[in-house]
């Protein structure tokens, strides 16, 4: 079972259903029962059950993690498995995809799940004026055909091998067709837990559905209660006084406190979230690749991880593809911190000295201003004088990011390479925060298009590795580090050995995968 190649899964997904049904061996030991109480940051008073609007952890855990399901699911080990889709198949050009849906699935109101639900739920995202974050994914689908009660065909404008992966996105939840308004106002999905009460920005309580298609392999709690605690200290208090069993986004400054308490433990995984310093490659002096290389060698990445993340992260070499991605080039040759080399590249660019402004604000990421000052002092020996400009946090994303030639920013990362690249590195896309385009690297843009439609996993690995190397050497974004997802768990819970690293709290699926000890 574990010998399955990603390619096999990717292409047909035939085994996906089997994989999901068999369950991971660890889950067999999980005990049913109890009430999970989780203190979660990332809640808002405007929260609701419309997955198109979800942006933060609380609703992600409540929606994808408990009440609703998507067609596919990223397992804890990073592989893709079927959720409401049992299997899928692509045409050789990766343009036409056929999904076989799971049978015998019902929504919490008793309605049976079928092809109509899939089509209507996907169409929600492309309705006129839709502000769904998943609009780009769904608008690439030109045709949705119902082949049978439990079979749908999706035709894409251009081939995309990642489609099954993209359909696991937490915005693409399945709603009952014809009752979507009601489902959104009450929270009616096919998930393991049905809504008992929901007070936006305050609290969500769910109850395990009696007979669920996931059977005994998932959903071990009888009841779950998510409490919105946006303040980090209050979250910590709630955990330490035993009022919740787990919390997300631990303030790493208080790590020692948690370590001193034998009843709780820290759980951390490195994901794709990364902190960046984008340069506009169409603005002097950053249009010169040698200047960019000088800056790449003038940053002390280890120091950033140690002092900004307090060790809770890992070094990145200017690519946004992280450990939670399939084709993460983990053994890529690193860029050392080397002021001499930086000075050398500066000379190549015909300069002795480089004076530049770096715009930063706490809005970019926690510690962005400190990180910029570290950068300032590490680049100084190379003759690079960085002037840190502290920008107001209000309106940072509208007034500074994408506008100032050199700034600080952050990305939560994406589940697939293509999604990440086509969000921020494809020529001309709106969030391309380094204005990285064909004139910078024709090869990169070419690979981006070719890899997208390639179904052969080995070839894709090759291409994505090359793209990561291009970004490392020439790219316009300095990415010094990937941040960890740091959460804390009480010893009253039993947590599987492998925990998802795409999102915090086991890919937001703690209610599904964890159990009482």
């Amino acid at each position: 079972m574990t010998r399955l190649t990603r390619r096999g899964l990717l292409r047909t997904g035939a085994a996906a259903g089997v994989l999901a049904a068999s369950g991971l061996p660890l889950k067999a030991q999980m005990k049913r029962g109890g009430r999970l109480r989780a203190g979660l940051a990332g809640a808002n008073t405007s929260d609701n059950w419309d997955a198109r609007t979800h942006t933060d952890a609380f609703m992600q855990n409540a929606s994808q993690g408990a009440v609703f399901d998507a067609l596919t699911e990223v397992a804890a080990d990073g592989t893709l498995v079927g959720e409401l889709a049992e299997s899928w198949e692509a045409s050789p050009d990766a343009k036409t995809w056929t999904f076989n849906l799971r049978q015998g699935v019902t929504f919490h109101n008793g309605k049976a799940f079928g092809a109509d639900d899939v089509i209507e739920s996907l169409q929600m995202h492309v309705a006129e004026d839709s502000k769904s974050a998943a609009k780009p994914i769904v608008s690439a689908i030109t045709e949705m055909k119902k082949l049978g009660e439990h079979q749908v065909q999706l035709v894409l404008a251009a081939g995309n091998a990642d489609l099954p992966y993209l359909l696991s996105d937490y915005h693409l939840m399945m709603y009952p067709a014809g009752q979507i308004d009601e489902a959104i106002s009450k929270g009616i999905g096919t998930g393991l837990y049905q809504v008992v009460s929901f007070d936006p920005g305050v609290r969500f309580v769910g109850k395990r559905v009696d007979s669920h298609y996931k059977g005994d392999a998932a959903g071990f709690f009888d009841e779950i209660e998510f409490i919105a605690i946006n303040d980090p200290t209050a979250r910590m208090n709630a955990l330490l006084t035993g009022q919740v069993e787990t919390i997300n986004r631990v303030d790493v400054k208080t790590e020692a406190l948690l370590n001193a308490n034998p009843l709780v433990s820290i759980q951390e995984v490195t994901g794709n979230r990364h902190f960046t310093f984008p340069m506009l490659t169409n603005v002097a002096p950053f249009d010169d690749v040698n200047v960019r290389r000088a800056l790449k060698h003038g940053i002390n990445r280890q120091e950033m991880v140690d002092k900004i993340l307090l060790g809770h992260g890992s070094i990145a070499y200017d690519t946004p593809i992280g450990p939670a991605n399939q084709y993460y080039a983990a053994d890529m040759e690193p860029i050392p911190y080397d002021p001499d080399k930086a000075a050398f590249y500066l000379k190549e660019a015909g300069m002795d000295q480089l004076n530049i402004d770096l715009s930063a604000s706490s809005a970019a990421f926690a510690g962005a201003v400190d990180a910029s000052q570290l950068y300032q002092s590490s680049a100084k020996p190379a003759g690079i004088n960085i002037n840190v400009v502290q920008e107001p946090a209000d309106g940072y994303w509208s007034n500074v990011w994408l506008k100032k030639p050199f700034s600080a920013a952050f990305w939560s990362g994406r589940a697939t390479e293509d999604w990440m690249f086509s969000s921020a590195y494809e020529d001309g896309v709106p969030w391309n925060d380094s204005q990285w385009g064909t004139e910078d690297s024709e090869r990169f843009q070419e690979l981006l298009v070719t890899a997208r439609a390639e179904l052969d996993s080995d070839k894709r690995r090759e291409m994505y590795t090359e793209m990561q190397m291009i970004l490392r050497d020439d790219g316009g974004v300095i990415i010094p580090m990937f941040a960890n997802w740091v959460q804390a768990v009480s010893n009253k819970l039993s947590v599987p050995g492998t925990v998802g690293n795409l999102w915090g709290m086991d890919n937001a699926r703690m209610a599904e995968r964890w159990a009482m000890a």
């Binding site: 004026d129 009460s197 952050f410």
Partner: protein
């Protein structure tokens, strides 16, 4: 006293009218101030994803692209018919939902405000009697160890930041001696006793904060009167010091005490944001801060009106009570 009611009634009506003018001015100030903040709802809600088209689409949907004056007049018109409007966040999501039920600002605020009133009520029920009792005792035994201790204790508690007191109480009453829960996330359908227990820590924190002013005002007002001739007379009559204070001094000292109590009650409604955050108490302060953060003007306006109204009404109540408690004010020359 009946013959004086019209006089008091006139004052009440006058003050209410003035209060309305104040509310009007407050609403203009808040409206201008929130709009003067950098970034608007569209930019904040889109954050990193704020492409010019997306921002324009949201502004169009929410009529944020109309001039300030038009928007204000529209809002004022709705308010005058009793409609607090719908929050931007709701409207924004609604336009992508197409139909379904819409939560109005009023229905968003009502449960939160009820929670805030509950917390303020519990706090007042503890703080006011304790403060007045301590004040009376301190006045009675002024200069004694008890007086000094009470003064030092209440002054140091009022001088400490709220979050510090909150964490101290959590440390002593929730962590070291687990008697009370550190999370006060009360919700609908919670039994009253449970709710009271969950509210206890924030209520105690607030009590420590409001205690000093009320207690010291009680003490000062009473001591002030102790030098007056009629107190001297009462003493000469030979009645006990306690009786002198409670029966003779306290009624005459009520006016300033009531004023201070009213001010502190207003603070309990409008100023408890920090305490709400620390204890995760779902009150109106948290909602207000959220709304300011995302520049959700309808919610901010509604909260401000409530806050302003609370101040105006409590001050009015305090004034009326002091008039009623003071014969000289009841019978103006």
């Amino acid at each position: 006293m009946t013959c004086h009611v019209p006089g008091v009634l006139k004052i009440v009506l006058q003050r209410l009218a003035l209060g309305l003018v104040t509310l009007f001015v407050v609403s203009i100030v808040i409206f201008v101030a929130v709009n003067a903040l950098p970034g608007d709802f569209a930019q904040v809600i889109l954050g990193q994803g704020a492409t010019p088209e997306a921002v324009a689409a949201i502004r169009r949907d929410l009529a944020l692209d109309e001039p300030l004056v038009t928007r204000y007049v529209g809002w004022l018109g709705a308010i005058l018919t009793g409609d607090l409007g719908t929050s931007f966040a709701q409207l924004n999501f609604q336009s992508s939902l197409g139909g379904g039920e819409m939560k109005t600002v009023a229905s968003q605020i009502a449960p939160r405000f009820a929670n805030t009133i509950f917390l303020a009520g519990v706090t007042a029920a503890i703080a006011v009697p304790v403060a007045v009792a301590l004040g009376v005792l301190a006045a009675l035994y002024r200069g004694s160890v008890f007086d000094r201790f009470t003064n030092i204790f209440t002054l140091s508690s009022v001088s400490s930041p709220e979050f510090f007191l909150a964490y101290m109480l959590i440390l002593f009453l929730a962590v070291l001696n687990p008697m009370l829960p550190s999370l006060s996330n009360i919700y609908d359908g919670m039994a009253f006793s449970e709710r009271l227990r969950a509210t206890m820590l924030p209520a105690l924190t607030l009590t420590l904060i409001v205690l000093a002013q009320m207690m010291r005002m009680t003490r000062a007002a009473i001591i002030n009167l102790l030098a007056s001739p009629y107190i001297e007379m009462a003493r000469l009559k030979g009645i006990s010091p306690m009786r002198v204070i409670v029966r003779h001094a306290l009624p005459n000292a009520l006016a300033p005490i009531i004023n201070v109590i009213a001010l502190n009650l207003a603070y309990l409604i409008t100023g408890v944001v920090v305490v709400e955050v620390v204890f995760v108490y779902p009150g109106i302060g948290q909602l207000f801060v959220d709304a300011v953060k995302i520049r959700d003007i309808p919610v901010v306006q509604a909260c401000c009106l409530i806050f302003a109204a609370a101040y105006i009404l409590l001050n009015l109540t305090a004034d009326i009570l002091s008039i009623l408690s003071n014969p000289r004010l009841r019978h103006p020359k």
